[in-house]
């Protein structure tokens, strides 16, 4: 059988590529899940490296974490009436619930301390977050005051230079740039 010309072969390939693309396009549309489409998992968990957080990130993180903490350490459950909406099974289920309710006193005895600890921990954390916020404000204020003093120093230095030059004295050595 004679060898197929190269050009002919390419045409054949091009047509086949088009046909396959059409088929795969259809399949792509049918597959709704991205991971199934690429045949591998794409989502994974990343470690939360709090030690590397910037101040803004820490503030956001503290706010979110505090919200969650307060949610978990919420108020104790209030007593509710016991019943069941299941037809025939309703009676035994309600009986079981009543029995469990009777043991609640002992459960509370065991868990009471833990619940109080959780609530107080959440309250303490909130107080600490607020306190750190106040310190941050005070630090910012102090930084602003230092900046104002620096400005005053520059003004004084320049005035001194000015006076020096008027008295025909060599100015202060300010021509040397601070290193960067």
């Amino acid at each position: 059988m004679p060898e197929q010309p190269e050009h002919e072969k390419t045409r054949e390939l091009a047509a086949e590529i088009q046909r396959l693309k059409g088929e795969l396009d259809q399949k792509k549309r049918e597959i709704r899940d991205l991971e199934e489409l690429i045949g591998t998992a794409i989502d994974r968990e990343f470690p939360c490296e709090i030690g590397e957080f910037s101040e803004r990130e820490l503030a956001d993180y503290s706010r979110d974490a505090l919200g969650l903490l307060k949610e978990v350490a919420g108020p104790p459950l209030r007593p509710r009436s016991v019943g069941s909406r299941r037809g025939i099974l309703g009676e035994p289920v309600a009986f079981l619930k009543r029995t469990l309710k009777m043991t609640r006193f002992y459960v509370r005895l065991l868990l009471g301390d833990q619940m109080r600890f959780d609530q107080r921990s959440a309250a303490l954390t909130e107080a600490l977050v607020v306190r750190i916020g106040h310190y941050g404000e005070r630090l910012e204020l102090a930084e602003r005051r230092v900046a104002a003093f620096e400005e005053s120093l520059v003004i004084l230095k320049n005035r001194l230079d000015d006076l020096g030059s008027r008295l025909d004295r060599p100015p202060a050595a300010n021509d040397v740039l601070p290193p960067r």
């Binding site: 590529i17 795969l24 399949k27 597959i31 489409l37 690429i38 045949g39 101040e55 990130e57 900046a147």
Partner: protein, 437 residues
């Protein structure tokens, strides 16, 4: 396109094309079926895309995506300049999430994008909320990733370039490029930055933070294109100190600190400052409280010597750049979050291209632009800003000398340089893509 139409377009294959020599249609079909089984439908589809390019059946395709293409911005200009530079080699598609026309891009950025096309991929999550700004920060694991629609689209091109700071798009294309202007988000839900084959960053400062936050090194570093050079050569300078930055409601560009510094100058050295004017130009959204506060501050302290010019046309901005002797930029001053420091500093380069002497904050990407004492000054406080400004007010010769050095330095960041680097880089990428087929 029907197969017959397609066949008419088939050019002669390039020489030494490995795939053309060994594969028959049947072999190809068998290979594709096998890939689909082993690695998924997308991988099989990608193989076909690569084969088409290797056989010279069509131009390689490239998509550039940015979820903020409908808003004017420096990062968007970066991606579109890239698209414009590559449009003769690639079939370029601009992927946006909101309605936008090519003419708008051409008006905003002065780019020739006539060979590109725009495709809008609407995201129902944001459409339902009538959101103009598409903010990925709203997306947590509790909702289905709305950007998966863009991920799917990325699989229809040979090259996918993600120009937005949105790592929630998982690239499916054969070649994927992530352009990072700053790694704002730490890796958490729907984070796919590490799935891109190539990461390009806009400055060494950004590269440093990518390494710190994402734990990998970007492969390429490409400064943004800046094209503010005056066309008619040098212009006579006036006694203007200029600042160009958006009036951001959070005040991150530190305009208030600059107004206070100039007020101090006028108060303490009225003789030296006489005749000088401080002009703050920049864009702002309506009802900007920070801007109102600035207006009050100017009215109280330095009316007449400080001017705020908000949302001015490009021609006016150009003439301000041409006339300004000094340029101030303090973005990052007293800020502790790395994202609040200038990642690069395009407006500083624009000023330098016009021979203005920059006095900028000593941090972030600005360190890569201004060489202290050579073509401007870098300062760490308002006091230093005042000090160097007084020095330049008094020594006009020094200002001229530094201005010329600034102009020379700014040439490094021109659009021509950017385009040349982009073309060279993508030519290399394309070459290995063809060869790998």
């Amino acid at each position: 396109m029907t197969p017959s139409q397609y066949n008419q377009r088939v050019p002669r294959p390039p020489e030494n094309c490995g795939l053309e020599r060994r594969a028959t249609a049947m072999e190809l079909s068998r290979e594709i079926t096998q890939i689909a089984k082993q690695s998924g439908v997308q991988a099989a589809y990608n193989r076909l895309l690569q084969a088409e390019v290797a056989l010279g059946l069509r131009k390689p395709s490239l998509a550039i995506y940015d979820h903020a293409f409908h808003i004017i911005g420096g990062a968007q200009k970066y991606g579109l300049t890239m698209g414009s530079a590559l449009s003769d080699v690639f079939d370029v598609t601009i992927l946006a999430n909101k309605d936008i026309r090519l003419e708008q891009f051409e008006d905003w950025y002065g780019l020739d994008l006539s060979r590109c096309r725009v495709k809008v991929i609407r995201l129902p999550y944001y459409e339902e909320r009538n959101a103009f700004h598409i903010d990925p920060a709203f997306i947590t694991r509790d909702v289905v990733n709305p950007f998966h629609l863009v991920s799917r689209e990325s699989g229809n091109y040979d090259v996918f370039v993600n120009n937005s700071m949105n790592e929630m798009v998982c690239p499916l294309s054969n070649i994927s490029v992530l352009i990072c202007h700053f790694p704002e988000r730490r890796p958490k839900s729907y984070f796919y930055a590490h799935r891109y084959a190539i990461t390009i960053c806009n400055s060494r400062y950004t590269a440093e933070w990518i390494e710190k936050r994402w734990k990998f090194s970007p492969q390429r570093h490409l400064y943004p294109p800046v094209d503010m050079e005056a066309s008619g050569g040098e212009f006579p300078k006036k006694k203007y100190v200029l600042s160009v930055a958006r009036f951001e409601p959070e005040g991150t560009k530190r305009q208030r600190e600059m107004v206070e510094a100039f007020s101090t100058l006028t108060r303490e050295w009225p003789d030296i400052v006489r005749g000088w004017k401080f002009i703050l130009a920049g864009g702002s959204l309506p009802n900007n409280r920070y801007l109102s506060e600035l207006e009050n501050l100017v009215a109280r302290n330095a009316a007449g010597s400080i001017e705020l010019r908000v949302n001015i046309p490009m021609a006016e901005l150009r003439s301000l750049y041409q006339e300004a002797t000094l340029f101030w930029h303090l973005c990052g001053l007293t800020r502790k979050d790395p994202s609040e420091v200038e990642h690069f500093g395009m407006t500083t380069v624009e000023a330098m291209q016009n021979g203005s002497v920059p006095i900028v904050y000593d941090g972030g990407g600005l360190r890569e632009i201004v060489d202290h004492g050579v073509n401007g000054f870098r300062v760490r406080s308002g006091a230093e800003l005042i000090d160097y400004t007084v020095r330049l007010f008094l020594d006009q010769g020094l200002a001229r000398e530094l201005g010329q050095a600034a102009r020379a330095r700014a040439g490094t960041f021109s659009r021509a340089t950017f385009e040349m680097k982009v073309r060279t880089f993508f030519a290399e990428v394309l070459e290995s893509y063809r060869r790998a087929a």
